[in-house]
């Protein structure tokens, strides 16, 4: 099992306000290559903080994160290079409003990977076609629906050919009728073998797609296991209570 560990989190801590707020209080977990890891838990339990620590959008106050065997919390590692291999999808899409869909997708490969523009655009068009948005390539983000924006955000991250995709509540800002189209894209991605870490409240998605589920509360992992274990026979009281509320 150790051979295919992609991310290893050891004793991760994130304290705010001189330790009075413990968003993360000693988290240990691993992400294996090719697996879909879903993180669930009540609001404020530290799910976003954990996910955002994985690519150092949040700088932890303690512990370490190994990515491909390299400690990325070490100040000497070049975090920008590692972030290129970790795609991230945000709740609020965060598309660049001053660029077309195509430019949103090609700017990073062109500027960072020094891909020729034509090659980057070809790849972007392929991805857009796969998510059914080829005809919107020259639209601006403000001309897209929420579901379309999030699909573009996903393929924008994919353009960098990342080793792992991080999703922070990708469907929480969407109108209900648009949730499905985004989840479908994520399911297909999972089928293709992409390594994914997903924070979500979509329990149906977790049950169907996850290889492993982590339940967090108060900055620590309470329980982890297969979707079957977590959803059908949770061991911890807090997991049971949470699931009673959301299912």
């Amino acid at each position: 099992m150790n051979g295919n560990v992609l991310i290893e989190v050891n004793g991760l801590k994130k304290h705010y306000n001189k330790g009075t707020v413990k968003a993360l209080d000693g988290v240990n977990c691993v992400v294996h290559k090719g697996e879909v890891l879903v993180i669930i838990g009540p609001s404020g339990s530290g799910k976003s903080t954990l996910l955002r620590s994985l690519n150092l959008l949040e700088i932890p106050t303690g512990g370490s994160i190994l990515f491909d065997g390299v400690d990325i919390t070490d100040p000497k590692t070049n975090i920008n290079l590692h972030r290129q291999k970790m795609g991230m999808v945000f709740q609020h899409f965060n598309l660049f409003p001053h660029m077309t869909v195509l430019r949103n997708m090609t700017i990073a490969p062109v500027k960072l990977l020094h891909k020729p523009v034509a090659e980057a655009e070809k790849k972007a068009m392929e991805l857009l076609t796969r998510v059914g948005l080829a005809d919107r390539a020259n639209a601006y983000p403000s001309q897209l629906s929420g579901g379309q924006k999030q699909r573009v955000a996903i393929v924008r991250a994919l353009c960098m050919e990342p080793e792992v995709m991080l999703f922070d509540e990708p469907t929480s800002a969407l109108d209900p009728e648009m949730v499905g189209e985004v989840l479908d894209v994520m399911k297909e991605l999972a089928r293709e073998g992409m390594t994914m870490v997903v924070v979500t409240h979509e329990m149906g998605f977790a049950r169907e797609v996850a290889d492993r589920v982590i339940f967090m509360s108060d900055g620590v992992i309470i329980e982890e296991g297969s979707p079957k274990e977590i959803f059908e026979s949770p061991k911890e009281e807090r997991t049971k209570n949470f699931l009673k509320c959301v299912l």
């Binding site: 700088i59 100040p75 000497k76 795609g87 945000f90 965060n94 660049f96 001053h98 960072l112």
Partner: protein, 283 residues
């Protein structure tokens, strides 16, 4: 009121006043129309002669044009310098405000470098915004570039450094107004801080502050009118020189005022159009 024309060359204004003591008083004002046209044409000819004397004799209009071009050159140059300084200072200041916590956590020298750069920027902003631009201009000309004979580059430098302080704060406000998610999206793709600034934040920031920036440009245009202090013949100085040479103050000074006014009105109109265009593209 009734005006009666007599013989075609007189205007009569009968005026009726009710006076409590004297009763009704009817007064007649009779003005020769030829007198008016005479006065008008003679003063017009006089004005023409004065214009001729002020601007045409000794080709003095060329001095005005040179002054006008110098004013434009100094304003445009200073704006360029100001924008460059403004971007750098605003990037450092907002980077410090945004990243100091995470940089402190990450350790290393980055935090200390940024802290010192931020201090330098704050010193610059305080000094420049706390002293009059004329004094800065004279310090630049008489002390920093004491060996320079040409005032125009010195004026561009001085006004640019001055304007940079104001532009920096405009830009910083613009950067702060951009959604933090834009930074995060840029960084998560692998752009470093400066690349994120350059490709993602600054283009959006420019759009947000463009009207304010244009107003700074208009203010700068008027501020350059003190360039005469360092031997630059700008528009104002040209008017002043001509006034001194011809002993006619009215024509050159009002001409100068009108040129500034026209420039400002045109620029303001363009800014207004720009603002409407930007608002429309946001929808």
């Amino acid at each position: 009121m009734v005006s009666v024309v007599l013989h075609g060359s007189f205007l009569v204004y009968p005026e009726v006043k009710i006076n409590k003591r004297k009763g009704m008083v009817i007064s007649m004002t009779v003005i020769s129309t030829t007198a008016i046209t005479d006065w008008f044409s003679s003063s017009l000819a006089d004005f023409g002669a004065k214009l001729q004397m002020v601007f045409v004799e000794e080709d003095r209009y060329q001095q005005m044009i040179r002054g006008f071009l110098n004013t434009l050159q100094i304003t445009a140059g200073a704006l360029g310098v100001g924008i460059i300084i403004g971007i750098v200072v605003a990037a450092i200041r907002s980077s410090y405000d945004k990243n100091k916590e995470s940089l402190k956590l990450r350790g290393g020298v980055g935090y200390h470098i940024l802290r010192i750069l931020n201090l330098i920027c704050r010193f610059y902003l305080t000094v420049i915004r706390g002293t009059p631009v004329v004094v800065q201009l004279m310090i630049a000309y008489l002390i920093i570039f004491a060996s320079s004979k040409n005032g125009v580059p010195v004026a561009i430098f001085a006004f640019g450094v001055n304007s940079g302080a104001y532009v920096a704060e405009i830009f910083r406000g613009g950067i702060m107004s951009i959604d933090g998610g834009q930074f995060e999206a840029g960084r998560s793709l692998g752009f470093n801080y400066l690349q994120t600034m350059w490709h993602i934040i600054i283009p959006q920031m420019f759009k947000a502050v463009l009207p304010t920036l244009c107003n700074e440009f208009i203010a700068l245009l008027k501020e350059t009118s003190v360039a005469g202090y360092v031997g630059v013949v700008d528009l104002t100085k040209a008017g002043n020189i001509i006034a001194g040479r011809t002993f006619n103050y009215f024509i050159p000074l009002f001409t100068v005022a009108l040129v500034y006014l026209a420039l400002v009105v045109i620029l303001s109109w363009l800014v207004g159009r720009l603002e409407r265009r930007l608002r429309r593209s946001e929808r």
